[in-house]
Symmetry: C2
Subunit: 127 residues, 2 copies
DNA sequence: GTCGATGCAAAAACTTTGCATATTC
DNA sequence: GAATATGCAAAGTTTTTGCATCGAC
């Protein structure tokens, strides 16, 4: 199965690529609608699933009923969730010592870290 | 608002408490139905939300459309998701050096780590 | 007996699918 | 022109809410 390059797919891919952190499906739709106003949510979900299967993006589970999507290929990084503004930020500089937690006989492929707290912007505005 | 002690709430709480790792709502229902066969899913969700508000349990986001719930008070620990059997295991022994990733001006409250891989049972059975 | 909790069913929210039309190659 | 992609609407899922009844205190 080959795929066609459409303005919808381009707008969706670029929205995800240019975002500073992972986005929710409805956020992806809103951003992509700046390029394609009539873009439907079904196309967003279909495109998300295609991009997931092709490995171009990945899901970032943040909380109950809150999954966001980000491009693969930003290098190894982790995430910060601000509990005031609900933004997820990318963080770099993982020290990587995880294997001491691994139970005997378990095999690790990957790991993800989510830090919870308050971001600099929210700290400033609220003290 | 005070709360009543009911066999439903007891069964749900005990299902979560006695599980070896975090559970999905439908898994909680199935387990609790061993004590209360007519237990409805609405009661499960209502109880999950109550227990979350009171801080007795917490959500563990695992993947898109996969949140599980576990008791607080198991001490600091993290999770392992087996991609063969889809079980989530608790892991202890976090080394805890996260702050080197924290951007300037950000404040960290907590962190969670999810390791992906293959568990010992699946490794044995599949090689 | 009062107030909170439950079960069921309806509603809301989120995600996927079917299908006629439109777009890409 | 053939094959894929889209938008819309309908169907599936998951989670929440309304309400009459039941159960705890």
């Amino acid at each position: 199965m080959s795929t066609h390059q459409t303005k919808q797919r381009k707008a969706i891919t670029e929205a995800i690529l240019h975002a500073p952190g992972p986005l929710r499906p409805n956020e992806i739709q809103s951003l992509a609608q700046e390029q394609v106003p009539r873009l439907g949510i079904a196309t967003v979900y279909r495109t998300i699933n295609l991009l997931m299967e092709s490995g171009e993006i990945q899901a970032v589970p943040i909380a109950a009923n809150d999954v966001r999507y980000e491009p693969t290929g930003r290098g190894h990084h982790h995430h910060f969730l601000c509990h005031r503004c609900n933004t997820v930020y990318d963080m770099h500089g993982c020290s990587g010592h995880m294997s001491n937690m691994l139970p005997d006989g378990f095999e690790m492929d990957d790991h993800e870290i989510l830090i919870h707290g308050k971001c600099a912007t929210c700290k400033e505005s609220e003290g």
